[in-house]
């Protein structure tokens, strides 16, 4: 057994750190897009919009029923063969689209559950004062559903950050890709992947602390 090359690991820290912004960028953009898409999907499901409801059900089923890696390959390598406009798609864009679609399917189900958990009297009260369907969802139902869904959505965000490492398979040099490249030169795979693992771990831990704080403050607001 050889000892860990800690000096090499320390050298890698600034290298990997340089890719943290790209990882966070992909995760944050995909998270925002997924939140918007998931809310729309959830609303279609809750309101049982004719036809669209079925389409959304199939969409959710597909993106929950197939591996993220397969989906990413479909977008990056597969679809451009059929859709010429997608030929020039870069890895980062493909990864963001893939993460968005994949996670929106999961998040739509959590948001749908949270919306259904809002008491029926809240819908009726909003209707009784003459709100439109859009107004009552935006002003009354979604804000209350968001509180219920927040912890779960935060978990998906954490999951999404870790899943950005798959962008490496699309040729994107993000944290994981950078570690792979370094290791390929030094042959110190253990050190390189250990450093990248610790980076993910720290990012997720920081977010978990934020998540706990968020839950505490939300809990106070809805104390009843």
């Amino acid at each position: 057994m050889r000892p860990l090359d800690t000096a090499y690991m320390m050298d890698l820290v600034p290298v990997i750190a340089g890719y943290v912004p790209l990882t966070l960028f992909m995760a944050i953009v995909a998270m925002i897009a997924a939140l918007v898409l998931a809310s729309m999907l959830a609303i279609v499901r809750v309101l049982r919009v004719p036809v669209l409801d079925r389409v959304v059900a199939v969409f959710i089923s597909f993106f929950r029923g197939t591996p993220l890696l397969v989906q990413l390959f479909l977008f990056y390598f597969g679809l451009p063969q059929m859709v010429p406009a997608m030929t020039g798609i870069n890895g980062v864009t493909a990864a963001i689209i893939g993460l968005t679609l994949h996670f929106s399917a999961y998040m739509a189900e959590s948001i749908r559950g949270a919306i259904l958990g809002v008491d029926r009297s809240q819908w009726e009260a909003a209707q009784s004062i003459g709100m439109t369907q859009g107004q009552l969802l935006r002003r009354i139902i979604l804000p209350q559903g968001a509180r219920t869904a927040a912890p779960t959505l935060m978990n998906y965000f954490i999951d999404m950050i870790k899943s950005t490492s798959l962008a490496f398979t699309l040729g994107v040099t993000e944290m994981m890709g950078a570690a792979q490249k370094e290791a390929a030169g030094s042959f110190l795979y253990l050190e390189a992947f250990l450093v990248v693992a610790i980076f993910y771990w720290i990012i997720v831990e920081v977010l978990s602390v934020g998540q706990r704080r968020l839950e505490t403050s939300l809990g106070k607001a809805v104390a009843r």
Binding site: Q122, I129, G130, Q135, R139, P143, Q144
Partner: protein
């Protein structure tokens, strides 16, 4: 008799169960009508149908110049009707994510398009009227049942509706809070606000109503001034009900 609000042939079925079996009712401007009757007899459903919280199967609801035919009511007509009728719920149904003031403001800004400062001034005026001038920033969860129901009534008052609908407004309250809510409704009634109130408080109905309507089995059995209904009801069913409730 000139009807400000006219309900004609209102029918509502839930599955095979006919809950409202052809209701005709006319309210004159400023008239205060109390609906009494046994549980499960369609009183609340009647109120909910007038606001389309339950969609009637048949019948016409006319409010002044707005006439809505239940069988083919458009979304716009339903919204217009709701904006001219205000509903007070048995369980208050305050917006849980909004303060007392914001509950009152919501209908003014979002639905009516009032500017924020004008709506806020109106809400503060209403908060003072309902005796909660100092609780504007409280969330519903932090208020007593009586306070919540007063905010519920305040939210309805803000709409300046042609018709106020009260659906058993004190039934969910602990006894200690009933008085303050009835006092508030009494004051609104004194302002000659046209209102329809479903209540189990017979004494209160007798006191504030111009007319009492007795319903049973989805139909109006008998109606008349309180003195007549409570004193010398014509129909056996009315008399039997009034004996039961003491």
């Amino acid at each position: 008799m000139s009807c400000q609000i006219e309900i004609t042939g209102l029918v509502k079925r839930f599955g095979g169960n006919t809950v409202l079996d052809g209701i005709d009712l006319c309210l004159e401007p400023g008239e205060r009508v109390a609906i009494i009757g046994p549980s499960g007899t369609g009183k609340s459903t009647l109120l909910r149908c007038l606001n389309f919280l339950d969609r009637p199967d048949r019948g016409v609801i006319r409010l002044g110049d707005l006439s809505v035919d239940a069988a083919r009511a458009s979304r716009a007509e339903v919204l217009a009707l709701r904006r001219r009728t205000a509903f007070v719920f048995q369980n208050y149904a305050l917006f849980a994510n909004k303060t007392a003031r914001a509950n009152i403001i919501e209908g003014l800004t979002t639905v009516r398009g009032w500017p924020q400062d004008k709506a806020r001034a109106r809400a503060d005026d209403i908060l003072a009227q309902i005796g909660l001038g100092d609780r504007g920033d409280s969330y519903p969860a932090a208020m007593s049942g009586g306070q919540q129901q007063r905010v519920g009534i305040g939210r309805a008052m803000a709409l300046d509706a042609d018709l106020m609908l009260f659906d058993e407004p004190t039934s969910a309250l602990d006894p200690e809070w009933v008085g303050e809510v009835l006092d508030l409704i009494r004051r609104i009634a004194d302002g000659r606000q046209t209102m329809l109130i479903v209540t189990h408080e017979m004494q209160f109905a007798r006191e504030i109503a111009d007319r009492v309507v007795f319903m049973e089995g989805g139909r109006i059995v008998e109606q008349g001034p309180p003195a007549q209904i409570f004193g010398r009801a014509q129909d056996d069913r009315t008399r039997a009900f009034l004996r039961r409730v003491g």
